[in-house]
Every structure is written in C-alpha cells, then in structure tokens.
Symmetry: C2
Subunit: 130 residues, 2 copies
DNA sequence: TGTATAGGTCTCATTTAGAGACCGTTGCTG
DNA sequence: CAGCAACGGTCTCTAAATGAGACCTATACA
C-alpha cells in the first residue's frame, strides 16, 4: 500500500515511518526476534558461554542461538570473547549499550509479568466466541 | 536443546522459561511482530479506521493489517467497532489495557530514538571487518 | 578405543510473512 | 445508466524465516 508525501489521516511525512529510517522499527526488528530478549535477560545475570545459554533455553536450536548472538554482537549489544582453552570456550556478555537497553525494557517486562493474565483472559474470551 | 528440571548454569526451573508459561515470551511474541507497535503508536493519536491505518503505513499489505489488528483485538489491546454506514466502516481504538501497554513501552521507544545511531555505528563497524 | 565436550556449520522440512487479485455493496460521475 | 472508486476485508501463491538434527575439528578422560 504505497503512499508518498504527507499522510492525510495523520499528517506525518512518510519518511517518519519509512522502514529504513524509523529507529523504532529498526530496533524492534531486532529486539522483537523470538529469542533476543530471552538471551539478553539471561546475560543480565552475568557473562555466559554458548552452551550454557543453550542449556538454559529449553527449545532453542544451535542454529538460532548462533544467529541471535551474532545479530546482537553486530548491533553492539553483546560482546563475544574467545578463550584459548582446549577446546576453546566463548563467552558472551552484555555491553554497556546492552545493559542500557535492558534498563529501558524494564517497564515493558514488568508490564508483561503483571498484565499477562488480563491478556490471557481476553484471549480465552475471544476464542470462546465464534 | 531440551533440558528438564533445574538449569545448572542459572538455577532456574525450566518452567520459568517454558514458552507456554513465560509471560515475557508470550507478550513479546505479539508485541515483537513487525507491525504491532507501529499500529499501536498510530492508535495513540486516537481511534482510526482500517484504511486510514493502511494508508499511514506505507508498506503493509491488507492481509497483514487485518491479521495484526485481529491479534491485537484478541489480546484485548485494541477494540473493533463496526458502524452501519454504507459501505460499513470499522473503527479501531486502543483499549485501556492497550494504553497501559504503550505507557510501559515508553522507555523502550525513547531508547530506540536516542540510541539507534549507536546501534547503526556498531553495525557499520561490524560489517566493515570481515 | 570409544565417548564426551567445546562451539559452531550445513542441509532440508516446516512455518510464517508478504504481494496482489478478487469480492459484494454502495455512491458519485459522466 | 455505465463505469469507476471506496469501504473492509478474504484467498491464493510465492518468498523468506525458523527449526531439527546430522556433521565437524580438536582434546581429554575412561
């Protein structure tokens, strides 16, 4: 549904919602990933190694664990450090930027814990009325 | 990577991360959707109709707009009201629960606006070093 | 010798998202 | 009165993301 210039219903320039330019969209594309916040939460407990994270998340595959960590590293939210043990071990940790992000997420996480029962109820009601 | 009982690295019961039981995972699965927050933000400006939302989001398809709105309605975050005009018009609005969620998201959205340049820089650096 | 651990990669099947045609009803325009 | 546009969707088909799990190299321990 392409539209140029100014939106008649809201008065935005379309730039403000341009996927490439809107920070919210860019950040949420990452943070909204299925595993992202879970991993960030675990790393709040301190640095952890690859397989420790894998063990902690019951249903993640190595493939997705690798990929999510790579993306977080790319965005500067997580650091990756290799230790020359045999076999080599790899430690992941939150960067200061990552710590900051998790602080900013606090409100949302609290909301999730305190309000999820309401969401669940709403779902049940909705599903029960065909 | 299935694991039962207590995680040795963290000390969680696996229940706390069980996809079905963890509120954070459940809420983020919704909120993390590509269009969800965008739509909620638009609805903060007041109730809007289906096609108004479609016009405001340059690159959403009707299919995804429908689906995202349905999911939000199911979760009790958005209300849907049909007016018997010809042709019928449909108005979407935030529910009190939706308003509350958006308040809780404030921190994250602010973070996105003020810190996205850092993320972007980190990305450029990462991509430049093969 | 045989098995386990480390941190991944690779392939293939399944799931989800996206583009865009289509639909029925109505009103406006020529 | 014919034709087109707008309302709010649904339907089909394709493309992209995700998931399961086999495989890899090197070392240590039994």
């Amino acid at each position: 549904m392409p539209d140029t210039a100014i939106d008649p219903d809201f008065g935005f320039t379309s730039d403000e919602l341009d996927p490439e330019k809107c920070p919210v969209r860019q950040v949420l594309a990452q943070v909204g990933g299925k595993w992202t916040v879970l991993i960030l939460e675990l790393l709040q407990h301190g640095p952890r190694r690859f397989n420790a994270l894998g063990r902690a998340i019951p249903d993640i595959s190595k493939r997705m664990l690798t990929q999510t960590l790579r993306d977080l590293e790319r965005d500067g939210l997580v650091s990756r450090e290799v230790f020359p043990t045999k076999p080599p071990s790899v430690q992941y940790a939150l960067t200061p930027l990552g710590v900051d992000l998790m602080k900013a997420m606090g409100g949302l996480l609290d909301w999730a814990w305190t309000n999820f029962d309401k969401v669940k109820t709403a779902r049940d009601v909705y599903d029960a009325t065909p």
